[in-house]
């Protein structure tokens, strides 16, 4: 597998890591590269090894084989403490102390991460809580929080010590859509503040709006990585447009048209595979000349879901692990989805 990412500085550089638990191979030749200042997303089904990868990065677990470097340091050596101090982690479960108040949970973290007590630590706690709109509930016991509040508190705790690298494991798990969008927005803002984010998710739509880089994982292996556009170019190079007309018989004139590789007509809609999007104006002119009343022309831009399944199919995932290939339909472009998520 070739990396297509050229980055001047890698914050995370995991190379060919293997890790087993008894007979279970949790990580199997995993490679992850996270450029500084980016949002990288680990995509994969449950059990793909995403959580284990996060644990490997902080040095909470060591690799059996392979190397992990974070900020250029080895997290399982004596440098582990420094690596962990520069990371902020939100795990799949919020990992909060239910019997303590929100304030005490944050203070515990502040002290463990070296912010001390009182003074600046209190200011940092208030600022972190305010950032995720949870400051009003800091006096309450966490056991009484809703799932959304717990996630917000966990996120506040993760940024409390101003980490350079944020590791987020399914950060929107259990959240309602409004809260999830708000959290994703906040995560996006994190990189604006100079942080690097590595996020795990199996929700493709969630990653769609966020990911600068994606790592597609399966069975503990990184199948592929790169920017979504780069992966789309490599795995879904075909150019397609969706054309809708008022009468289906006009679409028959697409047959033999220059620039058209193939087309598929269903009722008054056609999905047309073209050699190049440059051919589209000519195709439209020919259809109009043939008397077609065109109601819409939409270029098909593969989204992350298309890319994800294309990569997995290409890498040999068995048919029962994947849904059948979906017929391409009109959909907003990836940049549009990203815009919506923002």
């Amino acid at each position: 597998m070739e990396s297509t990412t050229a980055s001047p500085e890698l914050i995370v550089d995991v190379q060919n890591v293997h890790r087993s638990f008894g007979d279970v191979h949790a990580l199997n030749d995993l490679t992850i590269k996270v450029p500084k200042g980016s949002i990288s997303v680990l995509l994969g089904p449950n059990g793909a090894g995403k959580t284990t990868a996060i644990r490997m990065i902080t040095g909470a677990l060591g690799p059996d084989v392979g190397t992990a470097r974070v900020f250029g340091l080895d997290p399982v050596s004596n440098d582990g403490e420094e690596v962990r101090r520069r990371c902020g982690v939100v795990s799949a479960k919020p990992s909060l102390y239910d019997r303590l108040s929100g304030w005490d949970n944050l203070r515990y973290s502040a002290e463990l991460y070296g912010l001390g007590r009182g003074g600046n630590a209190d200011v940092a706690i208030r600022e972190a809580a305010a950032k995720f709109a949870i400051e009003h509930a800091l006096d309450q016991e966490v056991g009484g929080y809703s799932t959304g509040m717990k996630t917000r508190l966990a996120l506040s705790r993760a940024i409390l010590h101003d980490p350079e690298l944020l590791l987020l494991d399914e950060p929107t798990s259990g959240l309602d859509p409004e809260s999830a969008v708000a959290v994703l927005e906040l995560i996006r803002n994190m990189t604006g503040e100079g942080r690097t984010v590595l996020m795990c998710t199996h929700l493709l739509l969630e990653a769609e709006g966020l990911a600068d880089e994606v790592v597609i994982m399966q069975h503990g292996t990184s199948l592929e990585w790169g920017t979504p556009a780069d992966l789309a170019d490599r795995y879904l190079p075909e150019k397609r447009i969706h054309i809708a007309t008022t009468l289906p018989e006009h679409l028959a004139s697409l047959q033999g048209m220059p620039g058209v590789d193939s087309f598929d007509v269903a009722d008054t809609n056609a999905v047309v595979e073209v050699k190049s999007l440059d051919a589209v104006p000519d195709i439209i002119n020919r259809l109009v000349a043939a008397g077609a009343l065109i109601t819409s022309v939409t270029p098909f831009v593969p989204n992350l879901e298309d890319i994800y399944f294309a990569v997995r199919r290409d890498k040999g995932s068995s048919a029962d692990e994947l849904p059948p290939p979906a017929a391409p339909t009109a959909r907003p472009s990836r940049s549009r989805v990203a815009e919506m998520a923002r």
């Binding site: 638990f21 008894g22 644990r55 902080t58 040095g59 909470a60 677990l61 403490e81 420094e82 962990r84 101090r85 990371c87 982690v89 795990s91 479960k93 919020p94 990992s95 909060l96 102390y97 239910d98 019997r99 303590l100 005490d104 515990y108 973290s109 002290e111 463990l112 991460y113 070296g114 001390g116 016991e141 705790r157 590791l167």
Partner: protein
């Protein structure tokens, strides 16, 4: 010190204790247990003995004082400081107060600390908070020592407070019979300060190791019970020997127990690993 961040150890211990303070379902029964052994039973027994006077029951109990070791018998006063003879009831109450309640000082702290310690590491795993600790910069030795202290303090505080109350009760009830306040005796101080702490530490080092290695709090508590029971018996027998005034032996025993405690604590440090906090270590 030794590559340890003392403030982190203190933080882990303080946070654990704060959670314990919030857990009324834990400390209310434990307070009742301490009150029962340190206050209720001694008060009932000592008041009964000193108030029923010179009747047959007291005579029978006072006869049993003859079977006590000679070193113990010499501790029981025959006369008060002013030279007045001490009654049989007074001598019996004195013997009960000084010799009978040794197990109290052993059972209560070991029980409480074992209960706290058994849940401390496996509890982090069960609640999912072990993940937070595993990703934190805190070293595993710091986490272990913080949790050890947090487990030790409730038991020892109960002992100190209970010991204070017990001393007050003994002095108020038995003191007038023997010519004034006399408790705690030198032997009790030796037991509380020198002999009991290392046994507490040995017990906790084993309990924390169990807590790190088992799958559930319930399993940890059951296994801890098996570990702590023989230790309670050993500690009881040693404490009784101390109270009976076995010469310099208590100091030697205490020193040996401290040595053993340090050995077990050093080994126990290795039981806490990040993979165990996460619950992914082999065997968990």
């Amino acid at each position: 010190m030794f590559g340890l961040d003392i403030s982190r150890i203190r933080t882990v211990a303080r946070t654990d204790l704060k959670q314990l303070k919030q857990a009324k379902d834990f400390w209310v029964p434990m307070t009742l247990l301490g009150s029962f052994f340190f206050v209720v039973i001694p008060t009932i027994l000592l008041v009964t003995i000193t108030s029923i006077g010179e009747i047959g029951v007291v005579d029978q109990i006072s006869d049993t004082l003859d079977v006590l070791p000679a070193a113990a018998q010499t501790q029981i006063p025959e006369t008060t400081d002013s030279g007045a003879p001490v009654s049989d009831a007074g001598r019996t109450a004195y013997a009960l107060a000084v010799f009978l309640f040794a197990p109290v000082a052993v059972i209560v702290p070991l029980t409480i600390s074992t209960a706290v310690g058994a849940a401390t590491i496996v509890g982090e795993r069960e609640r999912g908070t072990g993940e937070f600790l595993a990703h934190s910069p805190a070293g595993v030795r710091e986490i272990y020592l913080g949790k050890l202290i947090a487990s030790l303090i409730p038991g020892y505080i109960t002992t100190v407070v209970g010991f204070g109350l017990y001393s007050l009760i003994v002095n108020l009830v038995v003191g007038p019979e023997v010519g004034g306040w006399f408790f705690p005796t030198f032997q009790w101080w030796v037991m509380i300060v020198w002999v009991l702490p290392p046994f507490l530490a040995i017990c906790l080092s084993l309990v924390l190791r169990l807590s790190a290695k088992v799958r559930s709090t319930a399993a940890a508590q059951q296994a801890s019970g098996l570990v702590s029971l023989p230790l309670i018996m050993i500690a009881y027998s040693q404490s009784t020997g101390v109270l009976f005034g076995a010469g310099y032996l208590p100091f030697v025993l205490g020193a040996v127990a401290w040595g053993a405690a340090l050995f077990f604590l050093a080994r126990g440090v290795r039981s806490v690993t990040r993979s165990r906090l996460l619950g992914v270590a082999a065997g968990i």
